[in-house]
């Protein structure tokens, strides 16, 4: 082995991964060559320095606290409405904006009790350096609708989150009608009823309106943020204790959470993050671990339990298959709108004009035209529901502070004679400027 070959192999040699024959050749050359020995020693010193530096930081695990502080700071440095406007300038959709509103949910208005704060801090400390978490929830929501949707009039449906932390996070969120999976490489949403899927070819921290669940899974960050806000702004934190059947003492911290949205906003209380709620955290007092969370929606007659996280598994053993999704062969793929020659014509429409064009296309069963507004596959269920409809009335569009959609009030007569009254949500697509239907059917 000559000097060039030796130096080319030095790193593999020092790492102990060089094949045996080459390793022997390298060692023999080093024994005989002072210059290459100096090079080896210099490399070894550099590796040792890097190893030492890595060891200094080995136990560092700050993601939850950093993300919690970011949410906290967003709340402190802006009013909720200003922040939402900022996010909307960034092009956020309703669900993502709703994610920010969670920060506002964490605001308190009166001085917190020291003991309750201590319990929250203890809970945050008990949730540091997690490798994973599994949240088992029940939520009053439409089984197939948006992950953040809540409705106090609906029955509970199961919602779960599995999350693996670390350098390459992975997660899965599931409710009966839809499932979202991030396998570390890409992010996939599957809508069961529509048999349609949407794939984002990149990993995502929290996509498809799952941000509120991810924030809850950041137990350390969320509890820390709440304590900081309690200390800086005062809070309605309350602490009580109870003993369960096994004799274990449970600490229960209750706080009031405001969305910051004005009364009368169309989306207020429609999503987890846009609701005024009372949150009840339940801790095991001895371990400090958060064991459960109940979220009550404030309603005129009485508060209604809308979300219950009734099981929290810390560092669960998560099967790799959880983060994979086997889709039916005939799945319809939802794709980003591509540029088309008629983009300017459609982009020039108002929301009201787009709503009319969409409904009238449904009425004459012109499914090609419908597909220009409808982002999912136009399947038989859709055709049976809206085909042949008659537009009775369309109103002026309006907005919500929690979304960049426009909502067009409508009254339709469906083919069977039923009259349907609601508000059609429309959003402009970033690429083409065209309107697409975003809900309200």
């Amino acid at each position: 082995m000559n000097c060039l070959e030796c130096q080319e192999n030095l790193v593999a040699y020092l790492e102990g991964v060089l094949e045996e024959q080459a390793s022997v050749g390298c060692r023999e050359h080093l024994d005989a060559c002072p210059a290459c020995r100096q090079e080896r020693d210099a490399l070894a010193r550099l590796q040792q320095r890097l190893t030492t530096r890595g060891q200094v930081a080995a136990e560092v695990s700050l993601v939850g606290r950093v993300m919690g502080r970011i949410r906290d700071t967003q709340s402190e440095s802006h009013t909720t409405m200003q922040t939402i406007k900022t996010l909307l300038r960034w092009g956020l959709g309703c669900g993502a904006a709703a994610g920010l509103v969670l920060a506002a949910v964490l605001l308190f208005s009166t001085k917190g009790e020291a003991l309750a704060s201590e319990m929250m801090t203890k809970g945050a400390q008990a949730a540091r350096r997690l490798t994973g978490v599994h949240l088992v929830c029940r939520v009053r929501t439409a089984p197939a609708d948006n992950f953040a949707h809540i409705d106090p009039k609906m029955d509970f449906v199961p919602v779960e989150l599995w999350k693996e932390f670390g350098a390459l996070p992975k997660w899965r969120v599931e409710k009966p009608g839809r499932v979202a999976v991030m396998d570390g490489q890409s992010t996939l949403l599957y809508l069961r009823a529509a048999n349609a899927a949407l794939k984002v070819p990149k990993p995502s921290g929290a996509a498809f309106d799952t941000s509120w669940l991810h924030e809850l899974a950041d137990i350390d960050g969320t509890l820390s943020a709440e304590v900081r806000l309690a200390q800086s702004k005062g809070s309605t934190l309350e602490l009580r204790r109870e003993t369960d059947a096994s004799g274990a003492t449970k600490a229960i911290v209750t706080l009031e959470a405001k969305s910051g949205l004005p009364d009368g906003d169309y989306l207020k209380n429609a999503f987890f993050n846009t609701a005024d709620t009372r949150r009840v955290y339940r801790f095991d007092e001895q371990t400090g671990r958060l064991e459960a969370l109940q979220v009550f929606l404030h309603a005129p007659a009485r508060d209604v339990l809308v979300v219950e996280v009734d099981r929290i598994e810390y560092n669960p053993s998560l099967d790799a298959g959880l983060f994979q999704l086997a889709l039916p062969q005939n799945v319809g793929w939802i794709e980003e709108p591509k540029a088309a020659p008629d983009d300017p014509q459609y982009a020039a429409m108002t929301a009201e004009q787009a709503a009319r064009a969409f409904f009238e296309a449904c009425g004459r069963e012109d499914w090609g035209e419908v597909a220009k507004f409808w982002p999912l596959p136009v399947d038989d269920q859709f055709k049976g529901f809206l085909g042949g409809l008659k537009v009775l009335k369309l109103g002026d569009s309006f907005t919500s502070a929690a979304s960049n959609a426009r909502f067009v009030p409508y009254e339709l007569q469906l083919k069977g004679g039923t009259v349907k009254t609601h508000n059609l949500a429309l959003k402009r697509t970033g690429q083409t400027g065209r309107w697409v239907v975003d809900g309200g059917l």
Binding site: E8, L10, V11, A12, E15, V17, A35, Q38, A42, L43, R45, L46, Q47, R49, L50, T51, T52, R53, G54, Q55, V56, A57, A58, V60, S61, L62, V63, R65, V66, M67, R69, I70, T73, S77, L87, W90, G91, L92, G93, A96, G99, L100, G166, A167, L168, P169, G184, Q185, K202, P203, S204, G205, A206, A207, S211, H214
Partner: protein, 184 residues
Amino acid sequence: MDATDQECVERCRNGEPDDFRFLVERYQKPLFAYLAGRLRDRSLAEEATQESFVRAFFALRRLQKPGSFHAWLLGIGGRVAHEFQRRASRQVATDPAWEFADHEVAADREDDHLEEAIAALPESYQQMILLRFYDELSCQQVADRLNLPLGTVTKTLSRAYAELRQHLRSSVDPEAAVHSEIKP
């Protein structure tokens, strides 16, 4: 392949602020090591690391070269460390307990420039160094993680070391001084 820094930064800017967590995951350890070397106190370094990330998040829109996130983050970290040091120096004058502060990382003081040199490397070299030393993976684990042949990992590390030594040589660095003496 993981999302690049540029992709993460752009996604944060385009309405997915939760994706900032990828950048925190990626750089929390080198940033902490850098700040621990500057501040010589683990708890202060931990606080300064958090502060640096939070400031970086709110300044993302001003980052002109998203691909240079790591170097830019260390710049923010350096300013935060400076502020913390000034605050600490005031504390020294008023708080006699300061002399008993945690000095366990003092030995790393001479390595203040190491993370800056790493941040100046091309992103693919940085990734290799960070996985190998800050995530403490073996070369084989790095190869598995990046789906690369083992030989590619060692060769990339070799090139990364060469550039790293070049960067260190241009800074005030004891290793560079030793190295320049023995260079043929």
